[in-house]
Symmetry: C2
Subunit: 289 residues, 2 copies
């Protein structure tokens, strides 16, 4: 099996695989990139995880995830900062690679959305010097507005770019995930605005009806209603030359054997994403970061 | 029991009540406005419905709903136009009152979101002369982005205003529903832009976790995380002087006796909305339309 040279498997897609199993699966399938999750990294430790990935000749394309920076008390916010510093340390050990930030929802019992958004900006300012010293770029991920209350108060790409713009492009970027942003009427303009802030492009489809747990409504590319090809085309036309991670949370996908899931990821990527990825100009044989 | 003079009950909130029961309930509770749904109107006919409401001294504050203008074939789109003309006739018989439009999602099997949005604009252009002749204003309702695929491709207030702006303010307005728009970082600017396009203000809270059917995640004012008071205050500060409809889709609310639901609507409105409504300037004793 050969996979497209820019395809990266976000390991949440094969949720039941350990890090080692996922690396072995990617290796066997010819997938060159893998996006890691902290819980699976923690099972072996960041140093060992880095070695497992490197020994297989793979590249870590991101670490998911830091964030959850909104909290009702100063003490809880400081605890979140400390937790994110540990995540930055792990991202440094793993490459370094980008650390994806899901910024957090409204603090429990609060309704002050503007205040929660300001809280994120404040925490980010505290984290950036630490990340800079570690050589890790933070990637703000705008979340679908249905997660605004309980997961991420950054609701649009434009808002994420505005917040990132307070820092240098190699310090804070944005992560564009088709599942979160596909609906946005302002998306074309904001994709044009991303430039070198675009730290990571993730793809997944939006499947209706929504799953009873809305978080699990993602689907394989082509199974839903997102024009993956058009979005990937726009992202690449604006100069993105990094990895493309396939990240799917869905019960049926998780229940399938990892190998079958990965095979479907590879074939749907070939069909819907590959035609939009200009790989010729790269001269170093590996996707740019 | 007395209710705030600008409070209107959207009859979807007391889903199990017939139109006659809802009117009787409002009358007994001192609620002066009622937002009607077409299915309940159809049970008695628009003419009889208008008489029932008028006999009780109530005002119809909106008719829900027209729309669903996106369809994969020209024939289906023409059928949708015809259906909306019938809805306009009903709205004319009922006041006239505003006809709320839920514009429709992606046509079955399609992924062309921009195309679907263009389809709505086209259908709207076809409907406006008919509505104008009937004396009915159409109110575009931006839907929460989680409904973009299957219910409404108008995803933000800004987008709805842009589309309405192709027509006169008394021909096409917008309907602002807190449940659909509360997350939008651009909301304050767009509320300021609404001006006389704001045809209807609806309120409901956003309750987490989302219900297994996401459509039913609305809650009584105060039960969720939306700052209803702040949004209502912004709407009224920008000059809105119409009715405020409480519209809640939620299994537990529907399972409660209508009288109890209405009592809760009245008390939460008094607490969270009433303080933001400047009623003094009105000189005709009834809310302006």
């Amino acid at each position: 099996m050969t996979a497209h040279p820019r395809l990266s498997l976000n390991q949440a897609t094969t949720k039941n695989w350990t890090l080692e199993q996922a690396v072995r699966g990617c290796s066997a399938a010819g997938v060159g990139g893998i996006g890691l999750w902290r819980d699976r990294v923690a099972e072996v430790g960041a140093k060992r995880a880095a070695a497992i990935v490197a020994d297989a000749g793979l590249t870590v394309t991101s670490l998911c995830r830091g964030g959850f920076l909104t909290a009702p008390t100063a003490a809880a916010r400081q605890a979140a900062i400390a937790e994110n510093q540990r995540a930055i340390d792990e991202a440094a050990a793993l490459g370094p690679t980008e650390l994806v930030l899901v910024v957090g929802g409204l603090p429990d019992g609060r309704r002050d959305l503007a205040g929660a958004r300001a809280m994120v900006a404040e925490a980010l300012a505290e984290l950036v010097p630490y990340a800079r010293a570690a050589g890790v770029r933070l990637a703000l991920e705008p979340m679908h507005p249905m997660f605004c209350a309980d997961r991420g108060v950054l609701s649009t790409l434009g808002q994420a770019i505005d917040m990132a713009a307070q820092f240098a492009p190699d310090e804070v970027g944005v992560c564009v995930d088709t599942y979160h942003v596909w609906w946005d009427p302002d998306l074309p303009a904001q994709l044009a605005r991303c430039a070198d802030r675009l730290a990571l492009f993730q793809v997944a489809d939006w499947v209706v009806p929504l799953a009873p747990d809305a978080l699990l409504s993602r689907g394989h590319l082509g199974d839903g209603c997102v024009d993956i090809t058009a979005l990937s085309s726009a992202v690449h036309q604006h100069g993105y030359d990094g990895w493309v991670e396939v990240e799917i949370f869905r019960r049926e996908v998780w229940d399938a054997p990892g190998e079958a899931t990965l095979a479907r990821v590879i074939s749907s990527f070939d069909q819907l994403v590959a035609p939009t990825v200009p790989i010729a100009p790269l001269d170093h044989g590996l996707p740019a970061r």
